[in-house]
């Protein structure tokens, strides 16, 4: 599947929406009795709460100290139907700070809870003892409040303003939540000096109405002229009038359905209807245009040109000698690549901080042996280039950061290294000690990344592995007269399966490994298990063990029954629900192969074995094959289960559910033995 297909999967699903035509008074404080009397949401009876009205007004103001800044006014009215909706009565507002002076400020916060008392509308105001401010870290403060007197059926209403100096990073406006929104309204008004590019997202269609208006602004400023001797003269306050146009953007949407939650769907934010204003340039009077970002190309360039990125790739003094020594006499590029990759992995220790740009700076990080993602991977790219290998950074976004759907710098929070070959691209992440080329951690395998080449051109590359992770298992066993089964098993884990075994088993001691394997497999006792290559990369991980099971064979009416897959059979369908909205993320294609040889006890004969068979998913998305035979009291079984696409569209969900139902059923079918 091409990356573009994943994108279309993302936008495939649609919600139905209905219009409600009630005239409502949305002014602050005008909560009606009818609204309070409502017992369930008229469209979504499952809703625990609903946003009756959300209004956001964003405008710009000016003062001499701060220049232009944003003022955002929020107004929200929420209906709470029942106790599971009570958490909507508590709200957290983040305010950011880049340094002591440049910070966001929240003010004019007020709120009120409305409820019916003896048929009359009563209310209780939010007071100061319900509002809390907390400094989470140097860069983040939170204002939290919780509304008073919440009971089933009540309505809360609050409003507040945020003053923000961060005109180049405005959070997305959210038009969809996990509860329905009856009406949401946005007015965004920006002076012509600020040009924003708008990015729409989500499945709910909405239109943006634009308009323009002229605005006069009195600008007051203080001057402190100096006299000829360098001494300050008297300060003067001067005023001048500025006339400019303002661009107006308006959005109004009715009846936005609740955002559904589903397992294995990744980050829900990917599906939320929202609007993002991305500053593309500023153009103040009497000064030149200052470009921010507009296209992916520009975003990539702007990151590349940052001193925390591009320049970090150029430095090489700090490692020159070490790398020279490392690759001395090595001519093969592949060999060099692995040597350098392993060198960085071995030397550097990831401090768990994400980031598409460096934190410590490569040089410092190198000295301290620790750094964030960009510190480590940009260093790797630089070294590879130094060794003559064509390596380039690939900007990516972790799953929790969401899929980068439109071009913003914050859309990327991770960077990895790439080496482009004739037909394929190798992706490398040196923050992971167990990483191999093209074996990335699942958290990073998120749709696609943006490769930036040295000439600053950029392009998308798929992060999904094309090669399947393969698990191959060989099992030999003998059923004894007392119906216990003794045998041995050899398992080989390749690619991503090897990575997950390494992550899971390399840190724990042998006894815990045994317990874990027994837990995974149920009714089995493992003896003499042994892992090979857990620490040795570039080879599959091997696991071998002997086992004994006591309870897998059943005797019914004098006959013996057992599943020839023994403890390896799939017991439950991972997909149980009837419907699905979002695509299913398998992260990487995978293939599980089992070769099983079973010897039946003396004095018994095989009465029947399950039928062989094979079936698959549409478009070759997956397949299952079950082959079984019996000869001379030996049962041979070969099972092959493959999921060929890392992501499967929800339109195939019912196929997928049925597919696994059949897998479970087949794997649980029984061999029947009778006494001779």
């Amino acid at each position: 599947m091409k990356p573009s297909t994943y994108l279309s999967i993302l936008f495939l699903f649609l919600f139905s929406s209905q219009l409600s035509l009630k005239a409502q008074d949305y002014r602050y404080g005008k909560v009606s009795k009818e609204e309070l009397q409502e017992k369930v949401h008229p469209i979504d009876s499952n809703a625990n709460a609903a946003i009756l009205y959300r209004e956001v007004n964003t405008k710009f103001d000016y003062n001499q100290d701060d220049g232009f800044y944003i003022v955002e006014s929020y107004h929200e009215r929420i209906k709470i139907y029942n106790k599971d909706g009570y958490n909507w009565a508590t709200k957290t507002i983040n305010s950011y700070e880049s340094d002591g002076r440049t910070k966001e400020k929240i003010y004019s916060l007020k709120g009120e809870t409305y409820f019916l008392q003896d048929g009359k509308v009563e209310s209780e105001k939010l007071r100061n003892n319900g509002i809390f401010e907390e400094e989470k870290s140097k860069f983040l403060s939170q204002t939290k409040f919780t509304m008073p007197n919440i009971k089933d059926g009540c309505i809360i209403e609050y409003k507040y303003d945020i003053k923000s100096p961060f005109i180049s990073s405005i959070d997305s406006y959210r038009f969809q939540e996990k509860i329905p929104i009856n009406k949401v309204k946005l007015d965004f008004i920006a002076p012509e000096y600020f040009s924003y590019k708008l990015h729409q997202k989500g499945a709910i269609p909405f239109t943006i109405n634009t308009d323009g208006v002229s605005r006069d602004l009195n600008i007051r400023y203080r001057t402190k002229p100096t006299n000829g001797f360098g001494k300050a003269g008297r300060a003067k306050t001067e005023t001048s009038q500025l006339t400019f146009r303002e661009n107006i953007y308006k959005v109004e949407i009715q009846d936005v359905p609740a955002l559904k939650e589903e397992a294995y769907a990744g980050n829900l934010d990917n599906y939320r209807s929202s609007l993002k204003f991305e500053l593309s340039y500023t153009n103040y009077p009497q000064s030149s245009i200052n470009y921010y970002t507009t296209t992916w190309e520009d975003v990539s360039k702007s990151i590349y040109r940052s001193e925390l990125f591009g320049q970090q790739l150029e430095k090489n003094n700090y490692y020159k000698n070490d790398i020279d020594a490392l690759i001395k006499g090595v001519t093969d590029d592949n060999e060099k690549l692995i040597l350098i990759f392993e060198y960085v992995k071995g030397k550097m220790n990831w401090n768990s901080y994400l980031g598409a740009v460096t934190d410590e700076g490569v040089k410092n990080a190198y000295k301290k042996n620790t750094g964030n993602v960009a510190d480590i991977n940009l260093m790797l790219i630089s070294m590879l280039r130094y060794a003559g290998i064509n390596s380039n950074p690939v900007l990516t976004s972790t799953k929790s950061n969401g899929i980068p759907i439109f071009p913003t710098r914050s859309g990327f929070n991770y960077v990895i290294a790439s080496v482009e070959g004739k037909e394929s691209v190798l992706l490398l992440d040196a923050t992971n000690k167990f990483g191999e080329p093209n074996v990335l951690e699942p958290e990073i395998i998120n749709w696609q990344g943006r490769i930036i080449r040295e000439d600053e051109s950029s392009a998308w590359v798929s992060l999904y592995p094309s090669k399947s992770a393969v698990k191959s298992l060989l099992l030999n066993a003998k059923i004894s007269d007392d119906l216990t089964i003794v045998g041995d098993s050899k398992v080989r884990y390749d690619g991503h399966y090897a990575l997950s075994s390494r992550n899971r088993f390399s840190k724990v001691n042998n006894e815990d490994v045994r317990k874990e394997i027994e837990n995974q497999n149920g009714n089995v006792e493992i003896l003499d298990h042994k892992f090979e290559n857990l620490q040795k990369l570039y080879t599959p991980v091997n696991l071998s063990y002997n086992f004994e099971t006591l309870d897998l064979v059943e005797e019914v009416s004098g006959k013996i029954y057992f599943s020839p897959m023994l403890f390896l059979k799939m017991n439950q369908n991972p997909f149980k629900l009837e419907e699905r909205v979002y695509p299913i993320d398998f992260i990487y294609p995978k293939r599980d192969r089992f070769l099983i040889k079973l010897e039946i006890p003396e004095g018994y004969t095989v009465e029947s074995i399950p039928e062989g068979g094979s079936f698959g998913l549409p478009e070759n998305l997956g397949s299952f094959r079950y082959l079984i035979s019996e000869k001379d009291n030996i049962i041979q079984l070969s099972v092959d289960l493959a999921i060929n696409s890392p992501v499967i569209s929800s339109k195939f969900y019912s196929n997928l559910k049925q597919f696994f139902e059949l897998v479970v059923q087949k794997e649980n079918e029984k061999v029947v033995l009778t006494k001779i």
Partner: protein
């Protein structure tokens, strides 16, 4: 005494000589099962001045691997009433070479909100260290000062599972006029010395091996060595407190923390009086008040200053409609007072692990508050933070443990309700119709009581989608199951929960030629088998007892006949009783009955194996099948 002198002398030398932080000195038996070893720890707690506590800590800890990083322990809390005077750390590699040095400004300063509180004024300084090599050693020094002497950190020479300790010393300096008390737990198996001097106590431990977590064992608190320490006269946020025994302590709580907080607006008093006007008994009144409370308030945790210990004013809760456990309990108490029903504020440790308030050691304990209403010899308990649990219901979170009842006369230790296994009953009945394709349609009814009620009653208010999810997971082994006609009844009066629903499972039976292989236990297959330990070290502890009964009637199509039925089975041992029985009748019906009683309690470590065997037998018997023969 001579021996002490020598030790002291050696210690003196070693601190003055070039200190060796290489890992060579750690005995190999301490490394066994350990992700880190506490090489040396010296804690000095000084409470010799009134209303002041200074804690100095010096520790040397070697971390062997990534999993040991969480034992770093380079962290101090502070708030308005306490400050961190010194905090510093050095990192050494395995050979003892210094690789990093962190001063106070290098520590991260963040809010210490616990994750469920809306707000807490506690903050924390911690070292956010990324190891560059393993093993490594951290040498940590800190000094903190606080005006609160109500809590003195206990001495826990091993801080948790998978950590070894070479040496730990704890010195408590005090004023003989206000001599602290201490209580030692679980010291028996360790080399631990206690030295009492006129103005200080010194606790010392050497060479403690790491403890590994084992499933179904008592909580760490109940197995690890620990000495608790407390003052009889202490200070809490500027208030003096007394706690020589529980009676005094309870009296102090009542008079200091719980006084002046119970006043209610007159309108509210009038309202609740009217509400219970027609009720004759205390219980009937209390039920009405409890319902009033549940309809009115919700749980929100806010912890600021003394508010971390003293309830928010009842009159504030009255208009805010929310509060934490202290606030809501105190509010309920005020409402009950208003209608003349006596009740007691009760402090306890909440959680599924039953932890007692230590009746033999009076000190600030507990993490939760509930309300007790005396009813002759009994006490009815009310959980005031929940809007859903029925009157007098406790559940796993607060049942069967020692708690502190605060009465105007003083404190009293009592035990909360213990649910017997038979009270925790789940009764399931079903009619199962087998179709000719081998599928089954099931008419299911189930009722749950006791702690099993607590596990289920919240399903009632879930959305249809979540209910479906819930049932599909509960019967995850029924391949392809669909769920319909879900009808749930939460009987809050009798505290029971009934479930009524229909299930359909295609291909439930296994086809063998023309015949069907049918597993009779459709609805309660227990497949849990505890993990196997080569060597079990801890006592077996079964935290929860219960009784499950199942009765299933199968309607078998006429075209099939029931071959011989399996034998009835009954297993009885100290862990419980398991019974299954099978019968058939002339209507081509099979009746399957199952009952499984599990006892709660402590058993020897040798018993672990037997218990595992018991569960294995059950897992097997729960899959008992019969053959249905196609009639020719």
């Amino acid at each position: 005494m001579f021996k002490f002198l020598v030790v002291f002398f050696l210690a003196f030398i070693s601190t003055n000589a070039q200190v060796d932080f290489s890992i060579l000195s750690i005995p190999s038996e301490l490394k066994e099962n350990a992700n880190s070893v506490l090489v040396k720890e010296n804690i000095i707690v000084d409470v010799s001045e009134e209303a002041k506590m200074i804690v100095e800590e010096y520790s040397v800890r070697t971390i062997f691997n990534e999993l040991g990083n969480r034992h770093l322990n380079a962290v101090e809390y502070y708030d308005e009433n306490s400050k961190i005077k010194k905090i510093e750390a050095y990192i050494y590699d395995a050979l003892g070479n210094e690789i990093a040095h962190y001063k106070k400004r290098d520590f991260k300063d963040v809010s210490a909100a616990d994750g469920f509180s809306l707000y807490s004024d506690n903050r924390v300084l911690f070292l956010d260290y990324t190891p560059t090599t393993y093993p490594y050693t951290i040498v940590y020094t800190s000094e903190t000062e606080t005006g609160n002497t109500a809590f003195i950190r206990p001495w826990t020479p091993i801080g948790g599972y998978v950590r070894g300790t070479m040496e730990s010393t704890y010195t408590l300096k005090f004023d003989p006029a206000n001599k602290p008390k201490y209580k030692a737990d679980n010291l028996e198996d360790y080399s631990i010395s206690i030295d009492e001097k006129p103005t200080e106590y010194v606790f010392k431990a050497k060479n403690i091996k790491a403890i590994k977590y084992e499933e179904l064992s008592p909580s760490f608190n109940d197995i690890a060595p620990r000495i608790s320490v407390a003052l009889n006269e202490f200070y809490l946020e500027g208030e003096k407190g007394y706690g020589s025994d529980w009676e005094t302590f309870g009296k102090w709580m009542n008079d200091q923390l719980l006084s002046g907080v119970s006043e209610l607006p007159i309108a509210t008093v009038e309202k609740v009086k009217a509400l219970v006007a027609n009720e004759q008994t205390n219980e009937a009144k209390a039920r009405k008040i409890y319902q009033y409370l549940q309809d009115k308030v919700r749980y929100i945790s806010i912890q600021i200053g003394i508010g971390g210990w003293k309830p928010m004013l009842a009159k504030d809760v009255d208009y805010l409609g929310y509060g934490d456990c202290k606030a809501l309990t105190n509010y309920t108490k005020a409402l009950l007072d208003a209608v003349g029903v006596p009740s007691y504020y009760t402090v306890l440790y909440a959680g599924n692990e039953e932890r007692n308030i230590d009746k033999d050691f009076t000190s600030m304990q507990g993490n939760h508050v509930i309300l007790g209403i005396p009813d002759e010899d009994n006490i009815t308990w009310l959980e005031c933070t929940s809007q859903e649990v029925p009157y007098s219901y406790l559940g796993n979170f607060t049942d069967d443990r020692d708690v502190l009842l605060v009465t105007p006369q003083g404190g009293k230790i009592v035990t909360t309700k213990k649910y017997t296994s038979k009270e925790n009953l789940q009764e399931q009945k079903a009619t199962v119709n087998l179709d000719l394709e081998g599928g089954v349609s099931i008419n299911f009814t189930g009722t749950s009581w006791g702690t099993q009620y607590g596990n289920k009653f919240k399903n009632k208010n879930k959305t249809a989608v979540d209910q479906e999810k819930e049932y599909k997971n509960r019967w995850g082994y029924l391949n392809g199951v669909s769920v319909g006609d879900v009808n749930l009844t939460n009987d809050r009066e009798n505290i029971s929960f009934s479930e009524n629903l229909k299930l359909y499972v295609p291909n439930y039976t296994t086809k063998v030629g023309d015949d069907f292989l049918l597993c009779l236990n459709v609805l309660n297959q227990s497949q849990y088998i505890p993990p196997r330990y080569r060597e079990r070290n801890q006592t077996l502890y079964l935290r929860e007892g219960y009784l499950d009964t199942d009765e299933i009637t199968f309607n078998i199509p006429e075209t099939y006949s029931i071959e011989e039925l399996p034998e009835d089975k009954s297993i009885e041992n100290k862990f419980g009783t398991y019974e299954i029985s099978f019968s058939k009748n002339e209507k081509n019906q099979i009746i399957y009955k199952r009952s499984f009683l599990l006892n709660k309690g402590s058993f020897s470590k040798e018993d672990y194996k037997n218990y595992r065997n018991f569960r294995r037998q059950i897992a097997k018997l729960d899959k008992t099948k019969i053959l249905l023969k196609k009639n020719n």
